[in-house]
Amino acid sequence: MDTVIKAAAVYFVLWAIIRISGRRTLGEMTAFDFILFLIIGGSTQRAITGQDYSLINALVLVSTFVSIEVLLSLVELKSPLMRRIFNATPTILVENGRMMTYRMRRARVTEDNVMEAARRLHGIERVDQIKYAILEATGDISIVPAAQPGQSEPLPRPKELPSTPQPAAPR
């Protein structure tokens, strides 16, 4: 019983700390961050297992972690609010070539971070070549490039698509 309670407590405490640290921490994981995460894992492991290195303890521990994961995924499936709480939501940082400075400051993203992602993903050189830059729930920055002269416009928004008659289903 002790193991299950400890595992659940550690799961939620770690989740809260990682969530508090923000998406940029996860998205910009450096080699040092990786070492830091290993240390966090090591110290919590000792807190959970204590002196008990038995096979049954490991089995109970792993089962508890996986059960919580499955339960939370089911809760997220039912509730969009819980999905937002557990996984964060995407945030637009650049819109039609304009940096949204308030959002970037709050999300701890710099102009350099956005331009780095733009260069890496699309070879973009200037901010006006970006239609959208989006900070994803994972902490990554996605770039939607603006249409260049001579290029076709990006696909229209779904609601702007002309309605096409659907072919009748074969009987």
Binding site: A16, I17, R19, I20, G50, R84, A88, T89, I92, R106
Partner: protein, 164 residues
């Protein structure tokens, strides 16, 4: 252009929720920093000015740790006063029910674990200069009210908080 409004395209934003998340994040940073600073004071045990406590009576004084952690060794130093050939030390049942004694220095000349606690006897020669150190491991958490006495003197009460 308003930055604070939710966009529906190219992603479905929930900007109000996002703003709240940023506020919670910042409150969380303050809490995390506060935990580290408070830990430096000794409030969570393992060193710091707030950690050690001292109670003094007629025949006995006790140096103890106010904040302990479950399964981590705690140290108690009992100092006897008076020139008797033998010192007795009684520790109450709360101590007995909470701690597993792992070491006593110097070794007691006699001792018994009774229902009401521990009764230990030290020869004054062995416990010279009148100090006995007890190392014990708490195996339950919470607020523990410990009472210790030597001889016929009234017991000294002190409280220890054991963290999980």
């Amino acid at each position: 252009m308003d930055e604070t409004g939710s966009r529906k395209y190219p992603v479905d934003e929930h900007f109000r929720f996002q703003r709240r998340t940023w506020i919670v994040e910042r409150v969380g940073w303050v809490v995390l920093i506060a935990i580290s600073l408070v830990a430096l004071t000794g409030l969570f045990g393992t060193g710091g000015p707030l950690e050690s406590g001292l109670v003094t009576g007629k025949t006995l004084s006790i140096d103890y740790q106010r904040f302990e952690r479950r399964t981590r060794l705690a140290r108690f130093i009992f100092r006897f006063s008076g020139g008797s050939a033998e010192h007795t030390l009684h520790l109450n049942d709360a101590f007995r029910n909470t701690y597993e004694i792992t070491d006593i220095q110097p070794r007691p000349a006699g001792g018994a674990a009774e229902a009401h606690g521990y009764d230990l006897t030290f020869s004054s020669k062995a416990s010279s200069p009148g100090a006995v150190t007890v190392w014990a491991k708490p195996h339950r958490m919470g607020v523990i009210h410990i009472a210790a006495s030597s001889g016929d003197a009234p017991p000294l009460d002190f409280t220890v908080l054991v963290y999980p």
